[in-house]
């Protein structure tokens, strides 16, 4: 997962502004954010609600475009891309983990993990093998056939992580991944993220909880759409492993 483009930053935001029209005027959700995330970093973006962190997440996830400024993902200016290329980038370069898990309810855990591989056009046997391997990493191989409603919140979120890493993306984007989990499940999930980080994955995680941000190697704090602090730290490592 580490290639020759090691020197190219995974995320390069330069003077990114995002505004929304409100009535006659406009509201600035993100004002002039410049941020570089290098390969292998585990960045927590923290801030109160309304600080612009969700908007920044949408832009870095190629789900939305900046109003002004540039965003380069692995050196590629996403502004210049159409639906086809954007879909391919979201599919192969980014893995999303959402607060509300967002598994497809009618599909088993394995099928959910397979879904991005389906969109990548991968053949069924290879797909099943890859999805199985991803479930193995999150420790849920024996739950592969379960429908989401038969899994606990923590298990669902781990299936979502498996789905995010199935295509072996350059970047894992997690939006309040522990927001819907209890303390124990949160700790297990963060242990999983630490493990992925230790294996060299690049992770950008949005959170408003300090103790969750403590797992990251770098914390970027936003307030009113601007970066007010950006510091590296020694991450908290998982106290113990996790089990299903």
């Amino acid at each position: 997962m580490i290639d020759a483009r090691d020197d190219v930053p995974v995320i390069a935001l330069s003077h990114v502004v995002k505004s929304y029209p409100v009535g006659e005027g406009e509201v600035l959700a993100v004002r002039d954010v410049s941020l570089v995330v290098r390969r292998g970093e585990f960045v927590a973006i923290v801030g109160a609600s309304g600080s612009g962190k969700s908007t920044l997440m949408s832009i870095t996830g190629c789900l939305d475009f900046p109003t002004r400024g540039h965003y380069r993902l692995e050196g590629v200016n996403i502004r210049e891309l159409g639906d086809r290329d954007l879909s391919r980038i979201r599919n192969t370069r980014i893995g999303f983990v959402f607060q509300g898990f967002n598994l497809i309810p009618r599909m088993s855990a394995l099928q959910n993990v397979e879904l991005p591989l389906v969109y990548a056009g991968m053949r069924a046997p290879e797909r099943r093998r890859r999805a199985g391997a991803a479930l193995e990493i999150v420790g849920l191989v024996d739950h592969a056939a379960f429908l989401p409603n038969r899994l606990s919140g923590g298990q669902q979120q781990r299936v979502a992580v498996a789905r995010a890493i199935a295509t072996n993306p350059a970047l894992i984007l997690a939006d309040e991944p522990t927001g819907a989990l209890d303390t124990r499940a949160s700790a297990e999930l963060m242990a999983l993220f630490s493990q992925l980080h230790a294996h060299g994955r690049t992770i950008v995680m949005i959170t408003h909880e300090r103790e969750i941000a403590a797992y990251a190697s770098r914390v970027v704090e936003l307030r009113d759409g601007a970066v007010i602090s950006d510091r590296e730290q020694v991450p908290t490592t998982a106290a113990a492993g996790f089990s299903g």
């Binding site: 789900l63 192969t92 959402f98 009618r106």
Partner: protein
């Protein structure tokens, strides 16, 4: 591409996830398709019934009617009629090369009696050629012959209904004497059943030599009420008609335009009846199409609801790499599956209902109606799904993901 198959599988899962709703939506298409098939079958059935009753008149026949009208040519007014001379003239190969046979017809309604059984039948006095021209075949015994006609022999061929009405099953009517009106006739032949054709029972007939019918029942006359002319082929029936008209006009010193007879061409009768029956069928088809349209609107409605309900799911799918075309085809396939399933079930229901007799008409499945109805159902699925699917595909992922 395996993605197409995966798409179909995903769509099927979507269809199955809310099966009561899917079933109700399908019902709209089902009823639409079934009614198209049934109403077209009723149209086709009634058209065939009309055609059959016309065809029971005979094959490639012209019927010349005379009511003994007066015709005027110049200042002289004279009584014209169809007589033996007309038959002779029309039978000449030279006068009318496209006429195969000419049969004089005398029709009278009589009560047939055998023992204590009675049966009201029409008695047809004619010549042997009448049987062939009218599609009667002899099941047992023999047909009346030219010799019978020449000798005024009181012999009769009984239609199937008359025979079964007079004689007990198992008994042999051949050689028996039946009373027609006041006269006694000997049964020499039994006619094969032609079947009832809706308008009249073609088997309630007794066919005897016209000479004998005149002698015994109607009294000697110099004219016939009707001539049954058989043409050589369907293609030359029009030619035969003009030959008949010219011969009769010449015989009566008049022109074809002033001919005091009505010449009924069976082929033109059929084509007139067929075209009005087709109009009727088309009308029924359109009525059914309206119900199919209502079904289509139901599919579209439910697809819009589905897209709205699954907005978040669409957002997730886009976030993990579904292209617009993939989302579009997912919902298109879903609406097509609903419509096509409804169409197949509707076709089965339509075929089932078409086996029943509806409003006195035996429906006949139009061969084109089933592929047409299925094709329309397919089209309905695609068209009704297009707008909802487009809405889904063009959702911005960021908006779709935030949808609550």
């Amino acid at each position: 591409m395996s993605t197409v198959l995966d798409n179909v599988r995903m769509a099927l899962r979507g269809v199955a996830s809310n099966w009561p709703r899917t079933l109700l939506t399908m019902l709209g298409v089902l009823i639409g398709v079934a009614s198209v098939i049934v109403l077209l079958a009723i149209g086709t059935g009634s058209s065939e019934a009309i055609q059959n009753s016309i065809e029971s008149l005979g094959t490639n026949t012209l019927t010349v009617f005379s009511a003994g009208q007066f015709s005027s040519s110049g200042s002289s007014v004279r009584f014209t009629q169809l007589n033996a001379q007309s038959v002779r003239l029309l039978s000449s190969r030279q006068n009318a090369p496209d006429v195969k046979s000419v049969s004089p017809v005398i029709t009278t309604s009589q009560t047939a009696t055998y023992g204590s059984s009675t049966y009201t039948t029409s008695v047809i006095g004619s010549t042997p050629s009448y049987l062939a021209a009218s599609n009667y075949t002899v099941a047992s015994g023999r047909a009346i012959t030219s010799a019978d006609v020449a000798t005024h022999a009181p012999v009769v061929d009984l239609g199937a209904s008359v025979a079964s009405g007079l004689f007990a099953t198992g008994s042999d009517p051949l050689g028996q004497q039946v009373t027609l009106g006041n006269a006694r006739f000997t049964v020499v032949g039994l006619l094969a059943a032609k079947g009832s054709s809706g308008l009249s029972n073609a088997d309630a007939v007794a066919i005897a030599p016209y000479t004998a019918v005149e002698d015994q029942l109607t009294g000697e006359s110099t004219s016939f009420s009707e001539l049954l002319v058989q043409g050589r082929s369907a293609a030359t029936l029009g030619l035969a008609q003009s030959e008949v008209e010219e011969v009769l006009a010449a015989q009566n010193d008049t022109t074809v335009a002033n001919l005091p007879f009505t010449v009924l061409n069976q082929a033109s009768l059929i084509s007139t009846a067929t075209s009005s029956a087709n109009t009727f069928t088309t009308l029924l088809g359109w009525v059914a199409a309206v119900s199919l349209l209502v079904g289509a609107i139901g599919v579209m409605n439910i697809m819009l609801v589905t897209v709205t309900e699954r907005t978040r799911e669409i957002g997730v799918r886009k976030a993990i790499g579904a292209r617009q075309s993939v989302v579009l085809s997912q919902f298109l396939v879903e609406s097509t599956v609903i419509s096509l399933l409804g169409g197949v079930l509707g076709a089965l229901a339509g075929i089932g209902v078409s086996r029943l007799t509806i409003a006195g008409v035996k429906p006949v499945l139009a061969s084109y109606s089933i592929p047409m109805a299925l094709g329309v159902a397919l089209g309905v699925g695609v068209l009704a799904g297009l707008y909802p699917a487009y809405r889904a595909a063009s959702l911005r992922p960021v908006d779709a993901l935030r949808y609550e």
